[in-house]
Amino acid sequence: MDLKQFEADNSGSFRLASRIPDVCRTEDCCLGVDEAGRGPVLDSGPMVYGICFCPVSKKEELKDLKVADSKTLNEAERENLFQKLDEAQSYVGWALQILSPNMISTSMLQRTKYNLNALSHDTAIGLIQYALDSGVQLKEVYVDTVGPAEKYEEKLSQRFPGIQVTVRPKADSLFPVVSAASICAKVARDRVVKGWNFAEDLGEMDADYGSGYPNDPKTKEWLLKYLDPVFGYPQFVRFSWSTAQTLMDSKAVPVHWFEDKRDKLSFAAQRQNNRSMLSYFSASAEGDRAQQTHRFFSERRLKSLKSL
């Protein structure tokens, strides 16, 4: 798993994939989708989506790799299992989409809000499409979900006609391909968090931020220590998460985005424009008096400056 490119520029979204096993192009395959680093408790580091696929005929062999019990594993055990998957590369393929915390923040906080579910679904769809585009003969897809399963299953079934789609909560404990995808995603996330290159020039930064979960005292301590009153946090932190927002609300300086002001302005202007019909019949020049500044200046927010 070569993460060097992402480590060099960790502000966007990045795809990484294994070689496609030849058998996957000729035999019917099953594919599992899972993610790491998403849950409502996480507020730092990347979110990683993973897919793992193999021929349907090899389902039992995949099961024998013991990838099934991934939930209670620690980092070292996960690495071990990933090694096993890597060794099975003659029939197992995988692909990952790494979403940087910066990308998550900016997508979720943008004006046309892009919520996490939509972001997650689109990422999963992108990866499944990648497998298809690479020639994988997909017949079965299994997906783990946090949101409503039926709706998601319907959405994916419509998007990928001819493929049997199964969406279940805790799918990683039900289907070995999903469990394998979960391992790939978690291992990638572990490695990215470990090797995170802070683009910010913050000198000797304490790299021990714990797990990234806000209920981890190490993480809490780190978040408090590295709160800058103006900038808030480095891009490692997801600003869209309530933990970060709450800390900034209480300890950072307030910031007001002009989008809100502008909306208020246009609303007030609208009310002004909705004059009664009767006002057009009166001879009063009140309306004219208000219009003293030429539009050229108001359009450009140019004002005669009389005092500071």
Binding site: L202, F231, V255, F258, K306
Partner: protein, 136 residues
């Protein structure tokens, strides 16, 4: 600059020692006046692209571009010199730095020539055309 009774004075001597500084016009109001770790957080993470620059501030994506001050104009960063007594209406400012170009940032939308600050730079040339002396 004067209106009614109060006068604001600019200490021109401060112009001599003033150095050029990079200036950013943000699409937000930051309730803070004073030092900030701009180079460490902002400049260090700014990306220079073909058509614009991108950076995030508090998790929001910004897109910006550099523009120059109008011909014959210099940008000044002013700082108010102590107000000894609040009954004094006159105010004093000095120049802390100068700039001949600045980077302005839009919230998410790509910078274009329709942006207000770009259009505002039209004024000096237009003013000259309207009010300037005409040589016979």
């Amino acid at each position: 600059m004067s209106c009614n009774a109060s006068v604001t004075c600019l200490h021109l001597s401060s112009l001599k020692g003033a150095e050029k500084a990079p200036v950013h016009l943000m699409p937000c109001e930051i309730e803070h006046t004073g030092h900030a770790q701009v180079s460490q957080y902002f400049t260090a993470t700014t990306k220079e692209n073909k058509k614009d620059k991108t950076v995030s501030f508090r998790g929001r994506g910004l897109k910006g571009q550099e523009i120059s001050c109008p011909q014959g104009h210099t940008g000044l960063v002013l700082k108010e010199v102590d107000r000894h007594g609040s009954d004094q209406e006159d105010r004093k400012v000095k120049v802390t730095s100068v700039f001949d170009k600045l980077t302005y940032w839009n919230l998410e939308t790509p910078p274009t020539s329709d942006d207000i600050v770009v259009m505002a730079m039209d004024w000096p040339e237009l003013a000259e055309a309207i009010h300037g002396t005409i040589e016979d």
